[in-house]
Amino acid sequence: MTDTTDVTAMTTRAPPPEAKARAKAEAKLEVIGLGAWFGRQQVLRGISLVVRPRGVLAVIGPSGCGKSTFIRCINRLHELTPGARVEGRLLLDGQDLYASGVDPVELRRRVGMVFQRPNVFPTMSIRDNVLAGLKLNGIRGDHDAIVEDTLRRTALWDEVKDRLDDSPMRLSGGQQQRLCIARAIAVEPEVLLMDEPASALDPIATARIEELIDELKERYAIIIVTHNMQQAVRVSDDTAFFYLGELIEVGETRQIFTTPRESRTEDYVTGKFG
């Protein structure tokens, strides 16, 4: 892992070798020399970092820095854009996500995604929204129990238990977003990608989503793209700062927001550009 930026190695002091070895052993996702293009335009360059099995990595940076492209590479959504391509390696539990034979649909079950705007399926009931991923992947089981368990874990059960067969379109924006998170976790993913999941929500709905992230991180590796610095500080354990397609700095959130090493990180988080 010589060319991989080790998140735990970026704390305020260099860790002892055994800590570094432990970090590698605990890596859920290793990104090694990732590059990404839209046609001839390179939007990511030489991104290398490690994501822990449990916890939250916040990805911050000004618009156009490549942070959304970065997470879209992780569940292979990027390649769906015509002319888009990637280079480098992404290892999930040591397995290359871009190796031949990897089924992108199965990959997206393991690596769930929540988008900026709640994208509930309007013609399906609340119950079927939760079960959509399970049905797509042909996963059998006690669907009623899964619906209840998932909605409880997303703190939505008490609010919707009497109207599971209703359309999700009557839910508030915050409830719809929690339903999308429920849909993502119903298939028991290992990694959860969130692209500005609370940017369209009011402060109370945002607080609920953040509380939910705090609970979910006990079970999943979560990578959240956010423009909201305070949100990054509140919800994440580690933070990566991207600028012009490059990873400028990655480290413990506490360090990035108190004593960043790089002047560009300092200038960005203190609001001097971006």
Binding site: R13, T258, T270, G271, K272
Partner: protein, 228 residues
Amino acid sequence: MNLHTSREFERELRTLRERLLAMAGRAEQQIRRAIEALRRQDDALAETVIVDDKVIDQDEVEIDELAFLIMARRQPVASDLRFVMVSLKIVTDLERIGDLAVNIAKRVREVSRHPPEPAITQEIERLGTAVMDELRRVLDAFVSGDVAAAERVIADDAGIDALNTRIIQSILASATRDGSRETGGWLALSSISRYLERIGDHATNIAEMVIYYVRGRDVRHHGGPRGG
């Protein structure tokens, strides 16, 4: 150095810095006048020091409020957060320095009833000059973000401690020789020496804060639990 995109935020931080430096200037002036009052045995000047302390107290309240407003409005991070946090700590040290200047002024009145030996007064003046120099240097270090200068202030504090110890030993020796003299005057003198030494300690605290502000490294208590 890059400026914040928000000019209002930039202005708030500048105001905080200016208010802090103005308060520091007042604290320094209070020490100077307290020492001058001792040298001249000037009770009226000592009284001025006591009365003017309320301006420094008011500085503390207003600077605290300004820092709280910045935190509430801007949620500062990184060097901005360190600056606001350090300002809150420095303001406490400056307010205590003001209180110590008042303590010195109060003791001046006791001493003036029993004028001390000139040699001892001169030593205390020397101590006062060293302490003011320390305070001035640490404030310059804060303004310029000069870590090396702040480290020198910390290192030089040992000299101030040693000078205070020597002065107290001289006072004890003189008091023992002068059995007829009332003890109140000697006690007041040794208190003044100790107050000056404490001002030096506050300058050292500020120096530690300057290092934290610039480097993000906590050097208090020999580096603290996380070391540095």
